[in-house]
Subunit: 152 residues, 2 copies
DNA sequence: TCAAGCTTGATGCAATTGCATCTATTGCCT
DNA sequence: AGGCAATAGATGCAATTGCATCAAGCTTGA
């Protein structure tokens, strides 16, 4: 019956809210970082992944999987991070094509300073607006919109 | 006690989900439009506002308020839309600085064709994943994250 | 009335993104 | 081994974004 696959009013509204709110929140956080003289959010995402990975480092293609950035985007972002001394590129033993990216001490420090600002933004923009239960519910519902969906 | 304003784990998770899911969904929709040889999502947003406004048209600064795009972004986007014949710029009687933007027949047609694809994306990506009640709940929760918050 | 300040919209220039393609390796299959 | 597709990452070029600033027209107040 539903050959046309027209979205329901509820779906349209949820979509619109999602797009608008996420854009607005992202911009607020971005603005706070900029006001503090810190790099943009994308840098944080990558530094976060690298910090979690530890001394072993991460391959660029793994960053692509985890951050959802485009390949060329990661490639150039890493070049900028390296130029700023926040990461270092190491050759990888068993694959002559690839490299391993490792965060430097300066990179960790930058990430720490970014988190001071970014974390506060999250607390203000999200943590202060909904209860813990409501936040958990948001996470659960959004998780089911992910691809692949998450149940947690 | 909470001087540092550190975000709770629930807030962090909800934020991360929100950022990741919105980006992923937006890209899916964008991809679908591109695959159909249609313009990007930003064009839809503007054409949608213009179509709602009707023959009276809308002032660019109103589009800025409604779409949350940056001023220079709207300015150039309208220039592209005009170059494509999707909108027309009319002088406004009582304000020599401004202009009124009105959607053309071709603009309405383009919007219609975009909606056929975009609406299907929304139905698939969101409508098919959650029930109407759940979608309403998502809208309500996200509404409270907006600035200014919405109660509905 | 007219100078100062505000609002509306455009634009020059640098940085970033997107697209397509390229090089270098690797792995596979014969 | 040798050829060939697949993978990892970089890059030239065009389009878009972001920033700062500009020009033009309105508004207000002395």
């Amino acid at each position: 019956m539903t050959e046309k696959a027209a979205p329901s009013p509820e779906a349209i509204k949820a979509w619109a809210r999602l797009m608008r709110v996420s854009r607005q929140l992202m911009e607020s956080a971005e603005e706070a970082l900029k006001a503090a003289g810190l790099p943009p959010l994308a840098w944080y995402d990558v530094l976060h992944e690298l910090a979690e990975a530890g001394e072993g480092g991460v391959r660029p293609f793994q960053l692509i999987e985890r951050t959802l950035f485009a390949q060329y985007n990661i490639s150039r972002l890493l070049a900028r991070l390296e130029a700023d001394g926040l990461v270092e590129k190491l050759p990888v033993a068993d694959d002559g094509r690839g490299q391993t990216i490792r965060i430097t001490a300066k990179g960790r420090e930058t990430r720490r300073r970014m988190w001071a600002v970014y974390g506060r933004s999250i607390a203000e923009l999200v943590g202060a607006k909904l209860s813990a239960d409501e936040l958990t519910m948001v996470s659960a519902l959004l998780g089911r919109l992910r691809h692949p969906p998450v149940v947690d």
